[in-house]
Symmetry: C2
Subunit: 244 residues, 2 copies
DNA sequence: CTGTGTTTCATACTGATGTTTGAATATGAA
DNA sequence: TTCATATTCAAACATCAGTATGAAACACAG
């Protein structure tokens, strides 16, 4: 057994070089880890990579957060209070005609996805969670997903004159949500299929406007004539076109 | 440096040796690896887990496929010829009214997602690829994603009277695609938000029917009165936004 | 200054994973 | 049989990741 541990010979250098100006290591780790976790996912992201990017020691994560999962939990918990979500919530809570609220929600959600100043790493974490769930997914859904969806159900239910827990209301809510989420979840597909699409604010506005139009077309039509749609109880028989 | 491929003799059948499924190790590995890769993703899936499940030696993967990526490539390549895709292609190619084709495509795609006999591991691989792309994603997109989307563009473009590469056509195609994909990509979200939703064939039909109705409402409306909507889209002619 | 508690650091340990290797076994032909 | 090839196997190797540890560096009260 050689317990002889090589003592450090000499002082390497003054590390007061870049003290990361008054930013505590803990905060820096949280910031860097957020982006790296969002980029690689929980499992593929390594503590060493995070610590190098944060100019911290490998042991810093264990010291400040216990272990890797502790850091990740903090990152997710922090991302749940992001400003982007507040935009969506306030859009849902405002007092306005339902159609305006729906437009505002769609736009807020899309804006939160692709911002130029802040990267969209909050949502990229969700993408990884959907592919490979960790214990954080339950909290993400119960704290964010379910409440927001519940409000969307109430909004849409009110617009089509059905209770929030009606199947039709839920279908419509998923239709709206799907149109939005595809721009986050299927981003590589989007880029491959539409290479020259630049996610400028103007482009995002156009997309949001389209999604709202696309959705409102059906919602208005359903409200004015619900019986024509709710007929699809079990088997849709032949897909005969409605009167043109 | 080893042989990249075992020799090929035309002797596929030789099961008299072992009654316990003397399926060649190579095929068994492919089969098992498909499910495990779809479940855990490329990185999280381990060769040992695959080999144990396939009752093969750890070295079997390296012997038959060179390395882990070689096995994964074969799995993806094999999944691209799955029967599910053929259903979508044939739905797109059939000679029928455009609205019927759209309904058939939506339904085929949804059916391919959740089947009771066969698990949906082909699409679950796509979910992982979207979260953490591997070299296989490029092939997946160029071989499957882009051609299918191109046909969808032509179909919808024909329905709304715009060229396939018009922005409005693409927006509509994404609206349709998003409504479908959300049921695959956001499955955990779906289950949490709608726990008592059973993916029976009847339920899938109802969903497909709804998505088609939801989408056709806008498409029909746009076709009958395009000018009311194009004020926001950049039709190649007039990019004027400020309508005063 | 000294002492004490906190933070950072270099380093080592443990386990897991992809890969290699060389021997052992099976297979089929001369 | 004997030989050549194909395949399987157990074991080892190399690397990397998460974690642990003890000392050094720091901050600050006394």
């Amino acid at each position: 057994m050689n317990n002889a541990r090589p003592q450090l010979k000499l002082k390497p250098l003054k590390r007061r070089r870049r003290p990361a100006i008054s930013e505590p290591t803990r905060d820096k780790l949280l910031d860097v880890a957020g982006r790296i976790f969002a980029d690689r996912g929980y499992r593929a992201a390594t503590i060493r990579e995070i610590c190098i990017a944060a100019r911290a020691n490998v042991a810093a994560v264990n010291y400040h957060f216990g272990d890797k999962l502790g850091l990740y939990t903090m990152v997710v918990q922090q991302s749940m209070q992001a400003a982007e979500l507040e935009g969506i919530r306030s859009a849902l809570d405002q007092l306005a005609p339902p159609e305006d609220i729906l437009r505002a929600v769609i736009r807020a959600r899309l804006n939160s996805i692709c911002r130029r100043d802040r990267p969209d790493w909050h949502f990229r974490i969700l993408v990884h969670e959907l592919a490979q769930p960790t214990p954080a997914l339950r909290r993400l859904i119960s704290k964010i997903g379910r409440p927001l969806f519940q409000r969307l159900l109430e909004l849409i239910g009110g617009m089509i004159g059905l209770p929030p827990d009606d199947d039709k209301t839920r279908f419509c809510a998923f239709s709206v949500m799907g149109q939005i989420l595809v721009f986050v979840l299927a981003n590589p597909l989007l880029e491959a299929v539409w290479p020259d699409l630049k996610m400028t604010p103007e482009q995002l506005d156009r997309i949001a406007y389209h999604i709202a139009d696309f959705s409102l077309s059906y919602i208005r039509q359903f409200r004015s004539n619900p019986s024509a749609h709710s007929a699809n109880g079990t088997t849709p028989a032949t897909p005969s076109r409605a009167s043109k």
